[in-house]
């Protein structure tokens, strides 16, 4: 970096955001921390923070991790071909292509998930169509597969958009140059497109993986409520359990784990930052 002083001045534009984070993220978080570290009588306790290690909670957390990780992987695998196909067809008019991906999400989430239930259920639309061509009926509703379909559907746009933004910005000349030098399509992807899309990919991973860790509506409706995610447990503690302390404790410890896990991503992120701004 040639001018660190100049860059430091640039950090000042983040001050409104810093104030916002302090007022509406950090301070409310302290409220939650306070609940997590006290019991009903208001005495200091670390019991709730360690409750995450009870076998039931570990199981729920691992299942959530499985769903979140699976969802992220499927989203990545579906998103790259999508973006490359869009680029291939010259769908570069940003607004329009973005809209096509985002428009379905403007119908209410719960309505869309209920619609999926109608598609996937035993007597549902999918089985009806499959029956017409002599297949099925398939038992998809109320299985982990249905949950996976639901979460991938829900989060796919959040993976496509950042990768799309990153890949569309790649200069066509760069790809042409690689081709002129004899690179095949796959090599162009591996050596040019993919490396340049990594910052977008990382954002996509965060936007898919992190929220899907605590989602539970999809598993309740499409999974038939037979499997328990950590999001269900936290929700239940706050509502039917009426135990804000336990709910806050679980939430805080889960947060710590995921953030530690993400520290690794954050390392590679900064590396990316250094290498791109050469």
């Amino acid at each position: 970096m040639s001018k660190p002083r100049e860059l430091n001045k640039r950090t000042l534009v983040a001050s409104p955001y810093a104030v916002w984070v302090l007022a509406f993220t950090v301070l409310p978080l302290i409220v939650i921390l306070q609940y997590a570290m006290t019991d009903a009588a208001g005495h200091l306790t670390f019991r709730h923070l360690f409750e995450v290690f009870s076998p039931i909670h570990v199981k729920a957390a691992l299942f959530s991790l499985e769903i979140a990780a699976g969802c992220t992987v499927f989203c990545i695998l579906l998103a790259y071909p999508m973006v490359i196909a869009m680029r291939h067809l010259g769908m570069k008019q940003r607004g329009f292509s973005l809209f096509i991906i985002i428009l379905p999400m403007w119908m209410n989430f719960i309505l869309r998930i209920l619609a999926w239930q109608m598609i996937l259920s035993n007597n549902g639309i999918l089985n009806f169509l499959l029956g017409k061509i002599g297949i099925g009926p398939l038992q998809i509703a109320n299985t982990p597969a249905a949950i996976m379909i639901g979460v991938v559907y829900d989060y796919l746009p959040y993976m496509i958009l950042p990768i799309y933004t990153a890949i569309m910005e790649i200069n066509e000349d760069l790809i042409e140059a690689a081709k002129d030098l004899g690179a095949g399509s796959f090599t162009v992807f591996r050596r040019v497109i993919f490396p340049l899309s990594i910052p977008g990919l990382l954002s996509g991973i965060v936007m898919v993986f992190v929220p899907s860790m605590t989602s539970f509506v999809v598993s309740d409706i499409l999974g038939g409520g037979k499997l328990q995610l950590i999001g269900n447990v936290i929700e239940q503690e706050f509502t039917t359990g009426n135990d804000w302390h336990a709910g806050s404790g679980l939430s805080v410890s889960l947060m710590v784990f995921v953030l530690i896990g993400m520290a690794f991503t954050s390392v590679s992120k900064t590396e990316g930052k250094e290498s791109v701004i050469w």
Partner: protein
């Protein structure tokens, strides 16, 4: 005779007062206001407008999804509700915590429309009927598809004997699921005996492989659509289910079940008791209760409304549960923190299986 005259006079006074207030309201700044919380879709919105027109009282209406969410928001002090409508056990909890104020029932002109039977039900959680006014009620039972069952459905046994494996939809709710298991085992659904509760959990765990899904609001639709043979639902849901699919029938199992009662109460934050009473009285009035009943189609405790129903409707167990059906039923009054915590833990264990 005197009673009748009195009532007529009162109505007259009320109408005059209402007219006067509407007049005043329009001229001199803000009139009385009420902040009301209720379940979603649990009051015909047109009635709110009608109430505002008749009385000049402005209603801020809030909807809650579950009693627990309502309680969470209420307790935070974020909104000071004047009137609360919620489930039996939640009203008990609010009474025990001193959140509700006493209502003078005799001041409700139309309070007598609510049948004695229902006042007696509410004694279970509001002894002496000091704090609450019944609103809607019903039972918990089994909604099933008559074309798919073999043999009679009159016992909770059908859910646990494995005959309908994979065709059962249970309620995704700690309370409702435990109620079913406890009643099947012959215990009280308000038990605080840990052994009984654990036995109920074992029963539910053994049943889990046979359960197609644990759903809440979608349970009814699964039976209507033919995805499941039977589901545990509330009687009001069963009525709707039957409307959409005439093959469906509803039964309150002979072992008994839960009879639930949603009621109104006035909170200690209410600083306009008159307005609150007017609101409660309004809801008890025949014409209003009728309009509301036709919007919601849950069982009403308003006998004037029941009397006006057709014979067919009166005979419908989902609309007007008979005394026979409710003979073994109990009102849920469980508010003990330790029991709630235990059931909550056991439910998590069950879900983790």
């Amino acid at each position: 005779m005197i009673g009748k005259m009195k009532r007529a006079a009162l109505v007259g006074v009320c109408v005059l007062l209402a007219a006067a207030m509407t007049g005043c309201g329009k001229k001199s700044g803000p009139a009385a206001e009420l902040t009301v919380v209720n379940y979603g879709e649990y009051l015909d919105p047109d009635l709110l407008e009608q109430f505002e027109e008749e009385t000049g009282i402005k209603v801020h209406y809030e909807e809650a999804l579950t009693p627990e969410e309502m309680y969470t928001k209420y307790k935070s002090g974020a909104i000071e509700y004047d009137l609360v409508c919620s489930a039996d056990y939640m009203m008990k909890k609010l009474i025990e915590e001193g959140e509700l104020v006493q209502i003078d029932r005799s001041k409700l002109t139309y309070g007598s429309n609510i049948g004695d039977k229902y006042w007696k039900f509410s004694e279970a959680f509001d002894p002496g009927n000091k704090y609450t006014v019944p609103y809607f009620w019903g039972t918990l039972g089994i909604l099933y598809d008559t074309t798919k069952v073999h043999g009679p459905v009159d016992s909770w046994d059908v859910l646990f004997n494995g005959e309908y494996a994979g065709e059962i939809v249970m309620q995704n709710s700690v309370r409702d699921s435990f109620m079913v298991a406890l009643k099947y085992l012959g215990y009280s659904l308000n038990t605080d005996n840990e052994d009984e509760i654990r036995e109920a959990q074992q029963l539910l765990i053994a049943q889990k492989p046979d359960v197609q899904a644990y759903l809440v609001d979608e349970a009814r639709d699964e039976v209507v659509a033919g995805n499941a043979t039977m589901a545990i639902v509330y009687s009001g849901e069963a009525y709707l289910g039957h409307e959409y699919n005439s093959d469906l029938a509803y039964v309150v199992p002979k072992e008994g079940s839960n009879v639930w009662l949603d009621s109104w109460g006035v909170t200690k934050h209410c600083d306009n008791m008159d307005a609150a009473m007017q609101f409660l009285d309004f809801l008890c009035r025949e014409d209003v209760a009728m309009t509301n009943f036709e919007y919601i189609y849950y069982s009403t405790p308003n006998e004037a409304v029941i009397a006006a129903l057709s014979e067919e409707e009166q005979a419908d167990e989902t609309l007007v549960p008979s005394d026979d059906a409710t003979v073994n039923c109990e009102v849920c009054t469980q508010t003990d923190e330790a029991v709630t915590e235990l059931m909550n833990e056991l439910w998590k264990e069950l879900k983790a299986e």
